[in-house]
């Protein structure tokens, strides 16, 4: 058997415990033009056994949010407000040293480019075993055994013979599996995946997403998936938080948000997808481009491209308000849009 047909599960998962609560997160960035707010008042929740997608285009601040959660911000960026509560502890209030205890056992992160995220001069076995040596105090030998087991868990064939290979000897898909293995080594409660499949071919992407799904099911992890790919969100995520220019503009269950978007930006994104437009016809595109960091306007961040813009949008920035049982949206005219 060369392939397997797999049902893409859409039924609800068990274990809906709140694992991560982010409230009012602010990240400031020092740039040549002064100190600018890159992530503004971002709030969302991640539940165990579920996938939350942070959806947005480049420059919206989703990657910076992820790095802020993991404590990996560049020196020019600082968290200047808000709380990040993981399992009862506010990560934002910890010192770097205290945080070290969390990376691995509580929080795992998978990056986009596996080749640069792996150290080229250490074997894969050494890098995989590192988590065990640091957090569980295992010897190098015992850590290697664990590493082999981990490689098998993520579907790398013949792990015993490949544990001493170097990252460049693996293909892109395999490297991404190794990265995922490193992130889930200690069964963390939360896994942050920052564009994990963007650099991979679509058939390999299908394999990797299946792997992430299986791992999530087995260990009831909460997954925060950062991506720009709407179709990926539609298939893999349970809830979505749409970001634009550093702000969250809409949240809710994926089916509801994509089926009936209540924010003009979400609506515009969905319309831009070329899927069903006939050939030769123009696609609906959102005019203009996102504002630069130092030109984010007062009032609504989306005002320069929004077809519904009014004076109030320029004056008052809409807050993220609840919109129905599980949704929230930041728009003055979400009611009108909901009934269109």
């Amino acid at each position: 058997m060369r392939t397997a047909t797999v049902a893409v599960p859409r039924a609800s998962m068990i274990d809906d415990d709140v694992v991560l609560t982010v409230t009012g997160l602010n990240v400031d960035l020092r740039t040549p033009k002064g100190v600018l707010r890159a992530v503004n008042d971002v709030s969302f929740e991640a539940l165990s056994g579920r996938t939350l997608a942070l959806l947005g285009e480049s420059g919206c601040g989703k990657s910076m949010t992820a790095k802020a959660l993991a404590g990996l911000l560049d020196p020019v960026a600082d968290v200047t407000g808000g709380t990040v509560v993981l399992g009862g502890t506010d990560l934002a209030a910890l010192t770097a040293k205290e945080r070290l205890a969390y990376a691995g056992p509580e929080l795992g992160i998978v990056f986009q480019d596996a080749l640069t995220a792996l150290n080229p001069v250490y074997t894969v076995g050494t890098q995989l075993g590192e988590a065990f040596r640091i957090h569980e105090g295992l010897s190098a030998k015992a850590a290697k055994v664990k590493a082999i087991e981990l490689m098998g868990r993520v579907g790398i064939p013949e792990p015993e013979s490949r544990v001493d290979s170097f990252p460049h000897q693996f293909s892109g898909g395999m490297r991404q599996r190794i990265l995922i293995a490193m992130a889930v080594a200690l069964n963390p409660r939360l896994l942050i995946a920052d564009e994990p499949t963007t650099a991979l071919d679509v058939t390999v992407q299908a394999q990797i997403m299946k792997l992430l799904r299986d791992l999530r099911t087995d260990s009831h992890m909460a997954v925060v998936l950062i991506t720009h790919d709407l179709a990926l969100v539609a298939e893999e995520a349970d809830t979505v938080a749409v970001m634009y220019a550093g702000n969250v503009v809409e949240t809710g269950p994926v089916k509801e948000v994509f089926g009936a978007p209540h924010h003009p930006y979400t609506r515009g994104l969905l319309d831009s997808v070329p899927a069903d437009v006939g050939r030769g016809q123009d696609l609906t595109s959102i005019a203009g481009s996102p504002p630069e960091l130092h030109r984010i306007p007062d009032g609504c961040v989306y005002q320069s491209r929004c077809p519904l813009v009014q004076d109030i949008c320029r004056a008052v920035r809409p807050a993220l308000e609840p919109d129905g049982a599980q949704r929230a949206v930041a728009c003055h005219f979400s009611e009108e849009l909901a009934h269109v």
Binding site: T31, G59, L72, V79, A96, A199
Partner: protein, 337 residues
């Protein structure tokens, strides 16, 4: 047979250019237009205190080299055997002896000034010649690859495998140690530095996409080298030249120290250090001041080179323009992976 093209798998998404690490996804404010670039380089220099001071020092040294000897007249050669080895920092003998006098009663200050011209007139041409020859050769070899590259690298290896100082000693001993010979020998031994750097950068550049784009509309190799390779390689080479300037100056000083560099009655900093060697216990200033001059010039050139490296690279320039970090922040930040 050509090599297979780089296999670019899907690129990460991103609509922004040259962003600082960790902020790739953020829409950074756009930089100034090309018209402002030349002006802004100067302003950028003024922003960095160390680099400005270094540039100022080098300008001062340059001016001294050009105008100094004329101003000093014959003060540097006028011997006064009744005033030998005067200590510095006293104006009792007039301002000319502010830095003391040497073993023949000549003004240290004047000699230092005149030596500036000699030292620079050896160091600058040497650097210039090796820069031009090494760079052009390296760029050509790196662009064309193949046997041209291999042959050039072997020649560079041969030159580098000779201990340069030893080679200089031998050559200058056999032929007369004139300033021209010194310049020549220093230039030749330093050519491989530029050759290798230029070749490496050129080889990397010729596989870049914008060079491919130029090839698609049929541009000849020389045009491509002129338009695309040299402008990109030049900043690196100029930075290298600035550092090499220090080395060449020190090499000339070493040769003079050994007695096969600049010969009296000409004077260079290295020669002054050499001449003061036997008086280190009694008249420390004879070697100290020329040594200090060498050190200050070398340090200034190095500082400027470091600044130049960043300032001439459009991708790195933002580092020089950031506001200062506040001492108190919510979360201690770490280096991005």
């Amino acid at each position: 047979m050509s090599r297979p093209p780089r296999n670019d798998t899907k690129l990460p998404r991103g609509g922004r250019a040259v962003a600082p690490p960790g902020t790739e996804a953020i829409a950074l404010p756009r930089s100034e237009s090309v018209a402002d670039k030349k002006v802004s380089l100067f302003r950028l220099l003024l922003k960095d205190r160390f680099a400005s001071v270094a540039a100022g020092v080098l300008v001062l040294v340059g001016l001294t080299a050009v105008f100094g000897p004329t101003l000093m007249g014959d003060l540097s050669t006028r011997q006064d055997l009744g005033a030998t080895n005067r200590p510095p920092f006293s104006v009792s003998d007039g301002w000319a002896f502010i830095l003391g006098s040497d073993s023949l009663g000549r003004s240290m200050l004047a000699r230092l000034v005149v030596a500036t011209q000699t030292t620079l007139s050896v160091a600058l041409p040497a650097v210039g010649i090796s820069l031009v020859i090494g760079s052009l050769w390296g760029v050509w070899a790196g662009y064309h690859r193949g046997w041209r590259e291999t042959a050039s690298m072997r020649v560079a290896d041969v030159i580098m495998s000779f201990p340069s100082l030893l080679l200089a000693v031998v050559i200058l001993y056999v032929f007369s140690p004139s300033a021209a010979n010194i310049v020549l020998i220093l230039a030749v031994t330093r050519i491989p530095i530029y050759l290798r750097t230029a070749r490496a950068e050129s080889a990397e550049l010729q596989s870049r996409t914008f060079v491919d784009a130029a090839r698609t509309f049929g541009a000849r190799p020389n045009a491509i080298i002129r338009r695309h390779v040299i402008p990109v390689v030049l900043p690196t080479l100029l930075t290298l030249a600035t550092i090499e300037f220090c080395y060449v100056m020190l090499a000339e000083s070493s040769l003079s120290f050994l007695g096969i560099g600049i010969q009296p009655p000409d004077v260079s900093w290295g020669l002054m250090v050499a001449q003061g060697r036997q008086y280190l216990q009694t008249a420390w200033w004879l070697s100290f001041f020329p040594g200090l001059a060498i050190m200050i010039t070398t340090v200034a050139a190095n500082v400027l080179a470091a600044w130049l490296r960043i300032a001439t690279d459009p991708a790195q320039r933002w580092r020089l323009t950031l506001p200062r970090k506040r001492l108190i922040s919510r979360l201690p930040v770490k280096e991005v992976l």
